[in-house]
C-alpha cells in the first residue's frame, strides 16, 4: 500500500468500507467456486470481470479468464466462426483497459493483454494509441514502457521512429529517466548493428552530448541525464577488444635464479621459499577485462627450459572460466640449469584466435613478452628460511632506498596503452571545457569533471605523463567529500584509486614507497617492501602495476577489501593491520596466493559486524561456487561448530601461513585461537608469539 494517509476513518467511511469489503469477499468466493467447477457461463464471466475491475491484482481471476477464452474458442471453432473469436478477444482487451484504469501497475492486467495480443486475433494498431494516452498520464510507468517495447517489436516499428518518440517525450519534459533509458537501449541496438546513419557513431554521440547538456545544465540536481551522460563518456572511450595490460615477468626483464634455488629478480631477492622449494615460477597475464580461452594454443611459449606445455589457470574468486588475470607456473624441477647461462623465454599472445571477452570480442593486439632467466651462485641462506623468525613491521626495520639501481628495472610500471582515435580525445577535451566553464561548482559538475580528466589521462600516451591531471582530480574528490557528505565514502574510494594510480605510474613515483626490509640476523639479505601504509586508502587499486611485489605493507589505512589482490602471485608477506576489514570473507583473494607465508590482520573489525558485505563476493557454498569440505573440517576441527566457524575455515584452510597476527579483533578470543591453530598446522608464529 502506497501513499495512503495514516488517519483513522470517520465512522460512516468505516461502515462504507466494510460494506465494500463484504461485497468483494462474496465476489471472490463466488468466483473461486466457478473457477474450481470450470463454469464459463456468461454470468460467471461477468462476475469475474466485476471482481477484476475492483481488484485487478487477483491473479487467479486472470488465469480463469484465459481458461474461459480457451474454452469458448474451442466451442466457437466448431462453428468455424472467426468473428466470434475476435469478439472473445476484444472482450478481454476491454476488461484489461478497465482494470488498468483502476490500477495502472497491475502486472496481471498487463500480462493478460500481452497474452491476448500474442494469440494474433486482435489488431495491434490500437495499442500505440492506448499507450500514448496512458504514457501521457504517467510518463515514468515502467509497465507501460515495457509494453511499448513489446508492441513496437510486434509492429516492427523502426528503432529510428522510437528514437524520435523518446525525443518528443524528452522535449516535453527532460526530467524523464525512463525516456533517456529507452534512448540508450535503442541507440545501443542501432550501434551494434551498424545501422545507416549510426556508424561510425561519432556524429551521433556528438549530438547526444548536446542533447543531454540541455538536461544537465538546465537543472544540475535533476538526475535524469546524469547516467545517460556517463554512458556517453563510456561509449566514447571504451575499448571493447580485450588487450594485455601488464605481465610478470614484464617484457625485457631479467630474472635471476639462485643456485640454492632462491629466486632473484635482478638483485631483488624474492623472499618466497615456496617458490624455491617447488622450483616453479609464476607467469602472470593481466588483461583489461575478463577473457576466456587462454591455453597453450592461444599463448605460445618458446624456451629451452620448457619441458611441457604451460597450464594456464584463470585467477577468479568464483571458479569462473573467464578472468581478467591468468597465471601459469613454469616448472623448473626437471631442468638442469647451468650456472651463469642465460635462458630466454618468449611468450606470444593472441597470434591465433580463441581469446574472447565475455561480450564476444576477440583479442585485438597480438603481442610478445620476452624475458631472461639466469642462474647465479648464491649466498648461503639459513635452511629454514626467513619464517624461522618473526616478521616485524616496525619502521626501524625498513630503510629508504635512495634510487633504484639498474637492476631494479622490473619495479617500474609496465602498462600498455592502446592507441586511441583523435576524435575520442577531442570529444573528451570538449566535454572538459564545457563542464569547467558551466558547472564546476556543483556536485555533478565536479564529479563529471573528475571522471573526464581521469578518462583523458588514461587515453594520453605515457610520455605525456607530466600533463596528467591527478592533482586536480584528487582535489575535486576532496571537495566532493565535503560538498556531499552523504556519499563521502564513494568519493573517498575514487580518491584512493586515483592516488594509487599516481603512486604506481612510474618508478620515480614508486621510489619513496619502496624500502629495504632488514632482517636483523641476516644482514646480507635485504628485500624490497612496498610500503603504502598510512595513506588513508579506503580501496586498493592499480594492481596491474604491482605484480612484482613480494612484501606489502598496507597497514594504517581504511581498507575494507582487497579485491584484485589475487593477481599479486609473488606476494609472501602482507601487513593489513589497522584497517577496516569486517569479515573473513573479505580476505578471500588471499586464498589464491600460493606463496603467502606472513599475514598481519591485527586491529581490524573481524567479528564486530553482524552483516557481512563480502559474503557473496567470496567463493562459498552459499553461492554454489564450492562444496563445504566437511571431511577436512571434521578431521581438523570437528569439535568446533561449522555454522560459527565456516568463514574462517574457508579462508585459512587453503593457506600455508607460518606467521599470523590477528590480535585486536573482536573475533580473536581463546576459542578462536585454539581453532585457528588446528586449521593452520604450518603456523609457527601466532600474534607475535612462537607456538610451542
Amino acid at each position: 500500500m502506497h501513499g495512503r494517509p495514516r488517519k483513522s476513518l470517520k465512522q460512516e467511511d468505516e461502515a462504507a468500507l466494510s460494506a465494500k469489503a463484504e461485497k468483494l469477499r462474496s465476489l471472490q468466493s463466488q468466483f473461486l467456486v466457478n473457477h474450481h467447477n470450470h463454469i464459463y457461463s456468461k454470468e460467471a464471466l461477468d462476475l469475474s470481470a466485476k471482481l477484476l475491475e475492483i481488484n485487478p491484482e487477483c491473479y487467479t481471476a486472470w488465469n480463469y479468464r484465459k481458461l474461459a477464452v480457451q474454452y469458448n474458442l474451442s466451442n466457437s471453432e466448431s462453428n468455424s466462426d472467426s468473428d466470434s473469436a475476435a469478439s472473445i478477444f476484444d472482450q478481454e482487451l476491454k476488461l484489461v483497459e478497465n482494470a488498468l484504469r483502476k490500477n495502472f501497475k497491475s502486472y496481471g492486467a498487463w500480462h493478460h493483454r500481452k497474452w491476448v495480443l500474442s494469440k494474433g486475433h486482435s489488431s495491434i494498431d490500437n495499442e500505440l494509441r492506448l499507450l500514448n494516452g496512458f504514457q501521457k498520464a504517467d510518463p515514468r510507468n515502467f509497465h507501460a514502457w515495457n509494453y511499448r517495447r513489446f508492441v513496437t517489436a510486434v509492429m516492427k516499428r523502426s528503432d529510428e521512429d522510437e528514437l524520435k518518440y523518446t525525443e518528443d517525450v524528452i522535449g516535453d519534459n527532460f526530467s524523464n529517466y525512463s525516456a533517456w533509458h529507452n534512448r540508450s537501449v535503442l541507440l545501443s541496438d542501432l550501434f551494434k548493428r551498424k545501422a545507416e546513419g549510426f556508424f561510425p557513431k561519432e556524429k551521433v554521440l556528438r549530438e547526444e552530448y548536446e542533447h543531454v547538456h540541455n538536461a544537465i545544465f538546465t537543472d544540475p540536481d535533476d538526475q535524469s541525464g546524469w547516467f545517460y551522460h556517463l554512458w556517453l563518456i563510456d561509449q566514447t572511450v571504451k575499448n571493447d577488444t580485450p588487450l594485455l595490460v601488464s605481465s610478470w615477468p614484464s617484457h625485457g626483464s631479467n630474472i635471476t635464479l639462485n643456485e640454492n634455488n632462491y629466486l632473484h629478480d635482478c638483485g631483488l631477492s624474492l623472499l618466497n621459499s615456496t617458490l624455491s622449494d617447488t622450483r616453479t615460477l609464476p607467469v602472470i597475464l593481466y588483461f583489461n577485462q575478463a577473457v576466456e580461452g587462454i591455453n597453450s594454443s592461444t599463448v605460445a611459449v618458446k624456451s629451452e627450459v620448457l619441458q611441457e606445455d604451460l597450464v594456464w589457470k584463470p585467477l577468479s574468486t568464483n571458479n569462473s572460466s573467464t578472468a581478467q588475470i591468468w597465471v601459469a607456473y613454469l616448472n623448473l624441477n626437471n631442468t638442469e640449469l647451468q650456472l651463469s647461462k642465460t635462458y630466454s623465454i618468449e611468450i606470444t599472445i593472441g597470434h591465433s584466435m580463441g581469446i574472447v571477452s565475455s561480450n564476444g570480442y576477440h583479442y585485438g593486439d597480438p603481442s610478445q613478452i620476452t624475458f631472461k632467466l639466469c642462474v647465479q651462485t648464491a649466498f648461503k641462506e639459513p635452511v629454514e628460511g626467513q619464517c624461522a623468525k618473526l616478521t616485524s613491521w616496525k619502521d626501524n626495520d625498513f630503510q629508504k632506498i635512495d634510487n633504484f639501481e639498474e637492476s631494479h628495472s622490473t619495479v617500474s610500471a609496465d602498462h600498455r596503452i592502446p592507441t586511441t582515435s583523435n576524435w575520442c580525445m577531442e570529444e573528451i577535451d570538449e566535454e572538459i571545457t564545457n563542464f569547467r566553464d558551466l558547472l564546476s561548482d556543483c556536485k555533478i559538475g565536479k564529479l563529471t569533471l573528475a571522471r573526464l580528466l581521469t578518462a583523458l589521462d588514461l587515453l594520453s600516451p605515457q610520455h605525456d605523463k607530466r600533463k596528467y591531471h591527478t592533482e586536480e582530480v584528487l582535489k575535486l574528490y576532496t571537495d566532493l567529500m565535503k560538498l556531499d557528505p552523504t556519499h563521502s565514502l564513494y568519493y573517498k574510494d575514487e580518491h584512493s584509486l586515483v592516488l594509487l594510480q599516481q603512486i604506481t605510474s612510474s618508478g620515480e613515483s614508486l621510489l619513496p614507497h619502496c624500502h629495504y626490509y632488514k632482517n636483523a640476523t641476516e644482514t646480507n639479505t635485504s628485500y624490497i617492501c612496498l610500503r603504502l601504509q598510512n595513506l588513508s586508502l579506503s580501496r586498493m587499486g592499480s594492481i596491474q602495476n604491482l605484480l612484482w611485489v613480494q612484501m606489502l605493507d598496507l597497514s594504517h589505512n581504511e581498507l575494507r577489501s582487497i579485491e584484485g589482490l589475487e593477481a599479486m602471485q609473488l606476494l609472501s608477506c602482507i601487513n593489513l593491520s589497522h584497517n577496516k576489514f569486517g569479515s573473513f570473507t573479505a580476505l578471500g583473494p588471499l586464498r589464491l596466493l600460493k606463496s603467502l607465508k606472513v599475514l598481519n590482520i591485527s586491529y581490524n573489525e573481524l567479528g564486530s559486524h553482524s552483516i557481512d558485505t563480502r559474503r557473496y563476493l567470496c567463493s562459498s557454498p552459499l553461492a554454489h561456487t564450492e562444496v563445504f569440505a566437511w571431511d577436512r573440517f571434521e578431521i581438523l576441527c570437528g569439535s568446533f561448530s561449522a555454522t560459527k566457524f565456516w568463514e574462517a575455515f574457508l579462508i585459512f584452510e587453503s593457506l600455508n601461513l607460518m606467521d599470523l597476527n590477528i590480535t585486536g579483533n573482536a573475533v580473536a578470543d581463546e576459542n578462536f585461537t585454539s581453532f585457528i591453530v588446528k586449521v593452520l598446522p604450518t603456523l609457527k608464529w601466532l600474534n607475535g608469539e612462537e607456538l610451542s
Partner: protein, 313 residues
C-alpha cells in the same frame, strides 16, 4: 531520533490475522502466502517467532500446494512461483522443510524455465527476472540448483543489464531497485557477481538516497521504506553499502513507524502495512540496528536460518 518500537510492531503483526474482514485484507487475500512470509520473517528478526503455533501455519501452507508441486497465494488460488518461494521460505524459518516433497516442488520450478534461460511465473508464461531470482533462491534452499540450466539462467539475467549498471524485468526494461535486488540476488546465489558492474551500479544505487535519508527505487522518485530493503541488500551484496549514510536511513525508517499502534509505513505519517513493516525491520537489520537478528541479503532469511541450511550436517 526515536527508537524502534519493537514490541508494538510484534503486536501489530500478530493483530493482522484478527482483522481478516477489513477491506485491505480482503484485497490482499490472494497473496496471503507473501503476507505470511513478510510477517513471520519480521517476527523472527524481532526475536518473537516462538509465539506462534507452528503446526497451524505449516498445515495451512500445505493446504495451498497443488498437484503440480507449486503453491498458491491462498487456499483455492492457482499455483505461482511467487508464492512457492514464500512457502519454502516460511517452512525454512520454522525448520520444517522436511514436510514437503522436495522433488515435487523442484519439478514445478524446473518446468518453468524457458529455452532462453528465463523463467515464467506460472503456466501462463509471464516472463520476468523476478521469477529467475525466485527459482534460483528456492532451488538453492532445497539444495537442487543443479536441476536447472544455471548458465543459461545467468545469461538471461545479464541480457537485462542496462547502461546504468542496473537491471530490468526483461531485456530493454528500465532499471528499478526491486528488479536489481532480484538480479543481483540471483547472480549472488550462483557465484556470478563478477558479471555486475559494481562501481557503476553502486553509484546508481547510492544516489537513491534522498535528502530525507530515505531511498527511492528509481531516479527522481519519492523515497519509500520498501527500498530500504531492495537498495540496501543490493548495495551489501556488491560491497558498496558504505557509499550511503546509514545513520540518515535509520532515522528515515524510524520516522515511518506508527509509534502508537505499531507497524511501519512507506513514508512518514502514511498508513502502515505488513509489507512495509517487514521491509523496515529487515532494512534496520541490514543496517546492524541493535537488538535485531541479522538477515542474509540474498536469501532474505535470517542469517542463522541460512547457516542452518548450509552448514549443519
Amino acid at each position: 531520533m526515536g527508537e524502534l518500537a519493537a514490541e508494538k510492531h510484534v503486536r501489530y503483526i500478530l493483530s493482522i490475522e484478527k482483522k481478516k474482514d477489513s477491506f485491505e485484507s480482503v484485497v490482499m487475500e490472494h497473496l496471503r502466502m507473501n503476507g505470511a512470509y513478510w510477517g513471520l520473517t519480521a517476527l523472527d528478526l524481532l526475536g518473537k517467532l516462538d509465539t506462534l503455533d507452528v503446526d497451524e501455519v505449516v498445515s495451512w501452507i500445505m493446504s495451498c500446494q497443488h498437484e503440480s508441486g507449486g503453491f498458491g497465494g491462498n487456499v483455492g488460488h492457482d499455483p505461482h512461483i511467487l508464492y512457492t518461494l514464500s512457502a519454502v521460505q516460511v517452512l525454512a524459518l520454522f525448520n520444517k522443510l522436511d514436510v514437503i516433497d522436495v522433488d515435487k516442488v523442484t519439478n514445478y520450478i524446473v518446468s518453468l524455465q524457458n529455452e532462453d534461460g528465463s523463467f515464467s511465473g506460472d503456466i501462463w508464461g509471464e516472463v520476468d527476472t523476478r521469477f529467475s531470482y525466485i527459482a534460483i533462491c528456492c532451488l538453492s534452499i532445497l539444495h537442487r540448483l543443479d536441476r536447472i540450466n544455471v548458465e543459461k539462467a545467468v545469461k538471461y539475467i545479464i541480457s537485462c543489464k542496462n547502461m546504468d549498471g542496473g537491471f530490468g524485468c526483461t531485456p530493454g526494461g528500465e532499471s528499478h531497485a526491486g528488479q536489481i535486488f532480484c538480479c543481483v540476488g540471483a547472480l549472488a546465489l550462483t557465484g556470478s557477481l563478477d558479471l555486475v558492474d559494481k562501481d557503476l551500479l553502486g553509484w546508481w544505487l547510492c544516489e537513491r538516497q534522498v535528502k530525507s535519508g530515505g531511498l527511492n527505487g528509481r531516479p527522481e522518485k519519492l523515497p519509500d521504506v520498501c527500498y530500504s530493503w531492495w537498495v540496501l541488500s543490493s548495495l551489501i551484496m556488491i560491497d558498496r553499502v558504505h557509499w550511503i549514510s546509514k545513520e540518515k536511513l535509520i532515522k528515515f525508517i524510524l520516522d515511518c513507524q506508527d509509534t502508537e499502534n505499531g507497524g511501519i509505513s512507506d513514508r512518514p505519517d502514511d498508513a502502515v502495512d505488513v509489507f512495509h513493516t517487514y521491509f523496515g525491520v529487515a532494512g534496520l537489520s541490514l543496517l546492524e540496528y541493535p537488538g535485531l537478528k541479522p538477515i542474509d541479503p540474498a536469501y532474505a532469511l535470517p542469517v542463522d536460518v541460512v547457516n542452518r541450511i548450509f552448514f549443519s550436517k
